[in-house]
């Protein structure tokens, strides 16, 4: 592999992480469409799903353009197996109840916002452009999921207890969000990516601030689940992909 091909391959892997995060979370959120607590919540969740799907397509399209054989966004979405996906484990967790969904969203949105803010200064123009565009949408997402922390945490006793349980259960997956592996370091060093570790303090401050408003705190233990970025996923991703990829795979080569 020559230097250009290698750096393309690395960038492509990096883009897959961004794209898969959006794709997988969007797919999860689609499960709420038609089933939300109110029409407005239904619309709001679908909106986020649609935004993330749009972002996923931008990232995957860019990733596929770097691939020697120029695979399409659909080839990437529909023809990779679970171990080839690069999304964070947090995002493949099942929808659970509304509190589970909003906690997953809150942890992700607040991280996503910081990451996109950093990446909008990327030395790679396309990364910067996609991030800048996405940031406007994610700005709205993070407000919305933060607001749900207040509403559920400061609503009824029942909503508060469900929120606390959801925070507990999703916390395990948060560590991975700030892990800097070799690829992330490489991307950061060359000015394309960002330093996830450096975002941790700001993220923590924001999340604590929001939760603090309803007198809630993050669990004290260190989150330990990790592996999604390297393709080590759980069974939930598998059943999700089986449904998502069914038509493409059963009809290889068909146009839709």
């Amino acid at each position: 592999m020559n230097a250009v091909a290698e750096s393309n391959e690395q960038l492509s892997q990096y883009l897959l992480r961004m794209g898969d995060n959006c794709l997988i979370l969007s797919q999860r959120l689609c499960g709420w469409t038609g089933h939300g607590p109110t029409l407005e919540d239904d619309l709001a969740l679908s909106n986020v799903a649609l935004d993330l799907l749009g972002q996923a397509r931008l990232w995957l399209d860019y990733a596929s353009s770097l691939h020697p054989t120029k695979r399409s966004e659909d080839a990437l979405a529909y023809w990779r197996d679970a171990h080839e996906f690069r999304n964070l484990l947090l995002l493949e967790q099942p929808n659970g109840n509304f509190a589970d969904t909003q906690v997953r969203q809150f942890f992700f949105d607040s991280w996503h916002f910081l990451v996109l803010t950093a990446l909008s200064n990327s030395t790679d123009e396309k990364v910067a452009a996609i991030s800048t565009k996405a940031l406007k949408e994610v700005d709205y997402h993070v407000r919305r999921s933060s607001h749900w922390m207040l509403r559920l945490g400061g609503g009824t006793e029942l909503s508060r207890s469900k929120l606390i349980l959801a925070l507990e259960q999703h916390w395990n997956y948060v560590g991975e969000l700030f892990e800097m592996d070799e690829l992330e370091q490489e991307m950061h060093a060359c000015g394309i990516g960002c330093d996830l570790g450096a975002l941790h303090a700001e993220w923590l401050a924001y999340v604590n601030d929001v939760l603090g408003k309803v007198e809630l705190a993050l669990p004290s233990r260190t989150p330990f689940q990790s592996g999604g970025k390297r393709g080590k996923h759980g069974e939930h991703l598998l059943s999700m992909l089986m449904e998502m990829q069914y038509l493409q795979r059963v009809h290889p080569g068909a146009q839709w």
Binding site: G34, P37, L39, D74, R151
Partner: protein, 319 residues
């Protein structure tokens, strides 16, 4: 006061006849209000229930582009339900009140959503045929005599025609695809054709409320007129796609220029309307489940809003 009644009704009819919209604050005959309420509620519920068969396919859409289109479409339907429930509120019927009637089975919605969506082509058929039928039905309604309903219809029809084209495009792509895709499209057409024709309601002869509704400008064409319009517009599209209309009696009447169809199985229609369709139970259960699962969320939202309002008041007093 009784003496005023005839003149109020006369004035009302004049308002209608002069195409001057009736607005929420205007006087309207109780029967007009009642008919309109029933019609708008049924329409709102149809949008809300109608999300279900398509929503199940969002997670299965075969390309990201199609997924995106379908997600946006189902979202539009939620939006339509919002406009219509809002229009209903102008008649004094709250959304929750209307909604509970849906959940307990008292309120009706379009029967077509009680048919199952069994393959990806069904998503196309719902867009092309069902939304196509909706447009034929609703374009006139954007000239409805009731202002809020007419205005909601204008927005809705714009979006529906988008959906109609997207549905047609989905089916066209499949008919140009593999033999299996073509077969899926035909299978879906076979299942959706007749139910779509029933969307326009019973034949004029059996449609008791129609006459008065037309006089009041709530209904502008008869069921059979609208059905014929839809058939004439759609059959050539079916032929263009190389699909087969599942009606051995179908033929073009050269003289009138209209397509004549075979007899519609109105017994099936009645069975389905009366709750015996394939999916009635599932649809209402799905709506009830979402409502029940969401109750603690709605309660939390209300409780939080109350607390915030209380804090605000307190804050104002203190400052």
């Amino acid at each position: 006061m009784n003496d005023n009644m005839p003149s109020l009704e006369q004035a009302f009819q004049q308002q209608i006849d002069s195409k001057c919209k009736v607005e929420p604050q205007d006087w309207m005959p109780p029967a007009y209000r009642q008919s309109l309420t029933r019609q708008i509620a049924q329409h709102a519920h149809s949008e809300y229930v109608g999300m279900l068969p398509e929503a199940a396919w969002i997670t299965r859409a075969p390309t990201l582009q199609r997924k995106s289109i379908l997600l946006a479409k189902v979202q539009d339907e939620a939006g339509h339900a919002q406009y219509l429930y809002a229009a209903l509120e102008t008649l004094g019927v709250g959304r929750e009140q209307a909604y509970l009637q849906l959940l307990n089975g008292a309120a009706k919605y379009l029967n077509i959503f009680n048919y199952p969506a069994m393959n990806w082509a069904d998503v196309g058929m719902i867009g092309w045929l069902t939304d196509g039928a909706a447009i034929v039905n609703q374009v006139p309604l954007s000239r409805s005599s009731y202002g809020p309903y007419a205005r909601a219809m204008i927005r809705i029809c714009q979006e529906e025609s988008f959906h109609h084209r997207q549905g047609f495009d989905l089916i066209r792509t499949m008919t140009e695809g593999t033999p299996q895709q073509r077969q899926m499209a035909q299978d879906a057409l076979d299942r959706w054709w007749w139910p779509t024709l029933m969307v326009f309601g019973p034949p004029d002869a059996d449609s008791p409320h129609s006459q008065r509704s037309m006089q009041w400008g709530i209904k502008l064409f008869s069921n059979d007129e609208l059905r014929q319009k839809f058939i004439d517009q759609t059959v050539p599209q079916v032929h263009y796609l190389g699909l087969r209309v599942p009606d051995p009696c179908l033929k073009l009447d050269r003289e009138s220029g209209h397509y004549k169809i075979g007899p519609i199985d109105w017994d099936e229609f009645k069975r389905s309307i009366n709750g015996q369709g394939m999916c009635n139970q599932d649809r209402i259960q799905a709506r009830n489940k979402a409502w029940e699962d969401g109750s603690w969320v709605r309660e939390a939202t209300a409780a939080y809003a109350d607390k915030q309002a209380a804090l605000k008041t307190e804050g104002n007093v203190n400052v």
